[in-house]
């Protein structure tokens, strides 16, 4: 369902050229939960951005359900993100003036699909992440763990094919981290969503079906 072939990504940092990814070839199957690990600066987030249609590779190919992400224009990439991809970020990134429920509905709002059915699904998801009683709260009224659970609900609201999580527990205490990872895996399996998890944490990585370790922009194992 998600495949890369000899993926390269380079940046120009001042006069220096940084090769963030150096020939990544991988294949992720539908419903699989994969953890990408590696030291800081090894290219984990860059890979996640390329897989999530947020960035384009310098060379190589990325295919999401057969769509060649490396050759699509911005509109098509946007449409794919809107329909097929969900994101969870380290710093939660909820819009502070929207309520929790509105934040969850955001992807559907952007695609003009907010209707009673969508609202019911948002409520279901919020119940699943144990935030039903917080649905009309604003983000600043929630704890870090609660914010991340709301972010997970937002990432799943539009039933994406793939969920990309960038250090989802990086800003949480251990109890909240466990709860969040348990939630991601449980919901992903329930929704049959493929999950790609970038993490530093070995314990988080251990919950995945498979681990991919990056070192210096290359897959080590």
């Amino acid at each position: 369902m998600l495949e890369t072939r000899d993926l390269h990504k380079s940046y120009q940092a001042g006069e220096a050229r940084v090769d963030a990814l150096r020939g990544i070839t991988l294949k992720i199957l539908p419903g699989e939960i994969v953890a990408i690990t590696g030291p800081s600066g090894c290219g984990k987030s860059t890979l996640l951005h390329l897989l999530g249609a947020l960035d384009t590779p310098t060379s190589g190919q990325v295919y999401l359900e057969g769509h060649p992400l490396h050759s699509l224009n911005d509109d098509k990439l946007t449409a794919l993100r809107r329909l097929k991809i969900g994101f969870v970020f380290q710093f939660f990134h909820l819009l502070p003036t929207l309520t929790v429920e509105e934040n969850v509905l955001l992807p559907l709002l952007l695609s003009g699909r907010v209707n009673p059915l969508a609202r019911a699904r948002a409520r279901d998801l919020l119940t699943s992440v144990q935030l039903a009683d917080r649905s009309h709260h604003r983000p600043h009224q929630l704890s870090g763990g609660q914010l991340q659970r709301a972010a997970i609900a937002r990432a799943l609201i539009h039933q994406p094919s793939i969920l990309l999580a960038d250090e989802p527990t990086g800003n949480l205490d251990s109890a909240s981290s466990n709860a969040v990872i348990e939630l991601i895996t449980r919901l992903a399996r329930k929704e049959k969503t493929t999950v790609l998890l970038v993490t530093h944490s070995q314990s988080v990585a251990a919950t995945a079906d498979r681990q991919i370790q990056l070192v210096d922009g290359r897959i080590q194992s």
Binding site: S45, T46, H49, G52, L54, D55, D74, D75, T78, A79, R81, R82, L83, F87, F89, F91, H93, L95, P96, T97, L98, L106, P107, L109, L110, S111, G112, H140, R154, H158
Partner: protein
Amino acid sequence: MNWLRTFRVFLAHGGRDFFRHKTLSLLNLTALAVGVAAIVAIQTVNETALRSFRASLDLVAGRPDFTVEGQGFRLPEKLIPILRQDPAIRELTPTLTLVASLPSHPGEFIHLIGVDPFSNTELVTYRLQDTLLSPADATAFVSEPNTIAITRPLADRLHLKIGDSLRAVSGGHQANLQIRFLLEPSPDLIGADDHLAIADIATVQSSFGLLGQIDRIDALLLPDADGKIASAQADLLTRLTPHLPANARAGSPERRGQEVGKMLGAFQLNLTALSLIALVVGMFLVTNTVAANVARRRSELGLLRSLGLDRRSVIFLLVGESLLLSLLGSSLGIFLGLQVARTLLHSVSSTITSHYVLLSMTDIAVNPWSLLLAGLAGLLAAGLAAWWPAREASLVPPVDALQPGNSADRASSPRSLAFRPALLCFLLTLIFSATALYGRIPRTGFLAALSILLAAAFLAPSLGRFFARLPSLPFPSAILARSAFTRGLHRHGLAAAALSVAVAMAIGVTIMVHSFRATVDQWIGESIKADLFIAPSTNLIAGALEPLDPIAESLALATPGVLAVGTYREVRLFLDGLPAKLAACKLDVLRVHNPLTLLSALPGDPYELCQKGDYALISENFARRRRLQPGSSLSLPTPTGLRSIQVAAIFRDYTSESGLLLLDRTTYQRLTQDQGLTSLAIHLQPGISAQAVGDSLREQLRPRGEFLIYSQAGLREEALRIFDRSFAVTTLLRTLAIAVAALGVTLSLTALGVERTREIGILRATGASRAQILRTIMFESAYLGATGITLGIVTGFAVALILMQVINRAFFGWTIDWHTPYPSLIYVTLGMILACLLASLPPAWRASRLSPAEALRSE
């Protein structure tokens, strides 16, 4: 605090940040530059006007110690020997001035000064150049009859050269003058009127029927026993006063310049106040930018604090950056301002000549001190504007500043800028209005206007919040924009405040100018009943200074079809220390054919009273400025002595800012011995064509020189043209303030765009398209615009009320009827909405082009 260390941090950190965010820096710099440019332009034009007038005075009279001048009317020549006998006078010289048209050069005139070349050698500040362009002996003036010297610019413009003759006409007298010299003013007399021409005083007297008359005597004094001139001046004045006619004004020559300054004071103050608005708007923007800067660099500042930078150094750093920016902005503003001043020169020169005093400004006079002050105003504005957000930043504990998260979430709530300060400002508006109207402190009227603008500014965030609570349009971009606007109120509140100030100013001035124009137009329609008007051609460009050829009256009376001829005479003088116009009419003609709109009068027929005795009709602004009522008395200095005149009635009039004292022609001539005319109003019999009579008169008058002959419609058109020209500068200043406000919208959205880079990344990652980001920011701009414009419109009405009912009444005393210019208001509003949308395009475009991955990395 170690200043050197802080300065190093400033250079290394702040200076680089300035260049890192070039767009923001440039926008800010431009906003300040436009604000400073407005001040520089107005100050330079004002300065040029005064310098030009003084230079013209100094050109012929140098810098005397003592001056005797006839105000309104000329002085008798016999004063010269009286002064000459005084032991304190070392040297004296008379001058005689008139404006003459040049029939061979239509539309041109000379400001002819008769001088005594034998007695003014110590005072002259010009040189005469002959054909060989070598300095000539002043006595050469009298060796040939009718010799005249003109300025080189005039000679070049009229293609005249030494040896040519020049026909000049004034008050029905014609003279063929011979150009024998060119005038070369001394280098320090920059700005002297190039219409100036010099001839021997005897030539001027004999050629223009002014034998025995002079305008002024300038004298150099011997210092008193203590070597002081000031006490010699005072002693001389005491000795001379009994010998001087009532209309003579004697004293130090600075007085004349001060009087002109006073005459132009209100006009110049109005322009200065308007020019300051652009800077006030600019100040809001600087505050906004510094606040944005603080928010964006929150963690950097936290780091610097944790590394040992103290609070005062944080303020120094941020205020210093703002000052650096304003230094560049002010420099650019000074340059721009001088260019704007050049473009305004003609308009202001014509306005001053029409309303106050003959002035011809050819190039700007730059006063380095004025430029320095304008630059300092820019620096001060930037420093003050930056201080508050800098102080706020300095108070954030380093540990909080280092916490990750969205800085905008942590920004201080605009809730604090709310009703209480707005109410206080509103109360100040009432107090300042009262002191302007009843406390005789007119300048506080401007403070009233400033207070109401500030009240609006304080309310901007609250109104913004109100708009954000209204249901939004059912589009994703509109919903997101509403949420973004609410969260960005800490930034948008200031931009909306700046916008509201600019819109209020634009709306207020638009209503005031429209109301004034409509009132004047209506008044013209009611008060101008004559069919034809005749005036000397120089009236158009030199003001009503050249007398009308008296033959015009007799020709008009003899023309078939003419029912009645009204006469008008006008002189400018100072009464009770205030400038005024003394006018005379044939009141019997006026009463029957063109009755005035009387506002109050003594019992009986005021026209009859004026015809029978020393009574006058006064304009309402004349009455308001001097607190006069029908029955009040005032002293009128005339060549026949100081005369007591009683007010018979007060009438509505818009012809003079300084006010009009109108006498019956017979009374005027009896009191002043002045037989002159300024213009004629001709009433025709029913059915007679004004065009035909006008053509006939034009034909008959052609050999006598150039004349303006207006139809009723033509005069109305001309009056409104002068009106529009008078407000041309106002329109420009209004545009500048709006331009600064539009820049504010761009600035605010750009600052928020920078602040929200990551958030835009989130939206893009969540599926927002570029078009949606673009539309979201444009909708956000619409919220900002709606807040600023709505508040601006409401405040604009209040500003108009203050301009008309407080500032106008306190300074000018006119009644301006309220006329709401709905179409103009719609245009201004639509224009502002368009400006907001256009201003939002660059930041919206920029945000929509952000790469989502780059944006997410910005965390």
